[in-house]
Symmetry: C2
Subunit: 242 residues, 2 copies
């Protein structure tokens, strides 16, 4: 099956979590909007195409099926490509973890858009500064502390069982995005995120992922995406409780 991925061009965004799974699996897929432009996405959002109507990209076309919501797409792809253990209980747990990653990602977005998604960042900068301070001081440590513990309670190397999964891929992407957006904060957390760091390096070294990251298909992080680096947003003095 050749999948069709639909996501806005020019950014990694939420689509990147799906892209990493497809790339890691070596799955055949078209990144449709990159070939045909963002306009191809709109008829789906207006309900003018067969299959489930997405509220927003990313969505995946798999045969006649249209599947939206990042975590849902990954839960669909996981068992088809060996990216999640076979047991039903493991798949439920994988989705739980992925949804918690989605929660951090949504909060990362809101650091630069705390008031309204339809306003520019520049129109909500004072509020963004406050929200980002809270995100860096309270939320990143709490979320990463949780995922670090998840790894530690497991085998120290994987989110699930003794094997690689789409959750590991997403943890890699989460770390990469936070490193880009909030480098001082992430540096301050290095000693408390050793398992996550080691996992990220292992993921980056997987042959298909390494090839993908070196390819032009991996667009760079930038200030149109979800993880944005606005130096003025990161608290200047940041002390973590080590």
């Amino acid at each position: 099956m050749r999948y069709e991925l639909y996501y806005w061009t020019g950014i990694q965004g939420r689509g990147e979590f799906v892209r990493l799974a497809l790339e890691d699996a070596g799955a055949a897929y078209a990144d449709v909007a990159r070939e045909e432009g963002d306009g191809i996405i709109m008829p789906f959002l207006r309900g003018e195409r067969p299959g489930a109507q997405p509220y927003a990209p990313p969505f995946l076309r798999a045969g006649r099926q249209v599947i939206a919501q990042t975590a849902n797409i990954l839960a669909f792809l996981g068992p088809r490509h060996g990216l999640v253990p076979a047991s039903a209980a493991s798949q439920v747990y994988a989705l739980q973890l992925q949804l918690t990653i989605a929660d951090v990602v949504a909060e990362a977005h809101d650091t630069h858009h705390p008031i309204a998604t339809d306003l520019y960042y520049e129109d909500q900068r004072p509020e963004a500064r406050k929200r980002a301070a809270s995100f860096c001081k309270e939320r990143i440590p709490k979320y990463l502390g949780y995922f670090e513990q998840v790894l530690e309670r497991n085998d120290g190397r994987h989110a699930l069982g003794r094997r690689h999964s789409y959750v590991d891929l997403s943890l890699f992407q989460l770390m990469a995005g936070l490193d880009y957006a909030f480098p001082r904060t992430m540096k301050g957390l290095r000693r408390r995120t050793t398992h996550l760091r080691a996992l990220s390096e292992r993921v980056a070294d997987r042959p298909n992922i390494a090839a993908y990251l070196a390819s032009p298909r991996r667009v760079a992080f930038n200030e149109d995406g979800i993880f944005r680096h606005y130096p003025e947003l990161e608290p200047r003095i940041f002390r973590t409780r080590q």
Copy 2:
């Protein structure tokens, strides 16, 4: 199987979406924190109990399995209690819709906590006013317009196929919460939400749901929950494009 639901006492919150499914299904469950206090939740969050470690409530214990994240719990319960069609494609679509409901719910929360979840509402009131204005003017109409279209593209009465599902229950709860928090906005949208209104009434009339809503187990909406009614947050003049 007798389930154990774990959620903070005193509010409906995200736990209510799970509670509605359990009540509608007539499932046997203990609402554990209501019996034993919120303290019972903490050891799970600290990873001191067997099974998956939740990041936050609600979570459900089903035998030895611990399941967190609202949409994930519903995806688990759905097929066990006839609250989702049997086909895999329908279950994927149900989860997609539920995750979009979760997105609105998260945005509803952020109307009163746009800066930091660990600050009081009173400490972020000016920002809350701005975020709530955007939520009422842009986001509620867009999300409800989407769900209205989902119903219309289906049979006009259900989110999925020709039958009741956990997504219908969640749409009822979403409408109830938004009605409580933003009554003027919702009144202004009445003519554009006729299918959602009719669905909500049908859900409220289901025997198990009607009995539940009339019982003391349904705690009232209040200003500790996700859907909060702060009259000062709702834009005073609100015109919808009918």
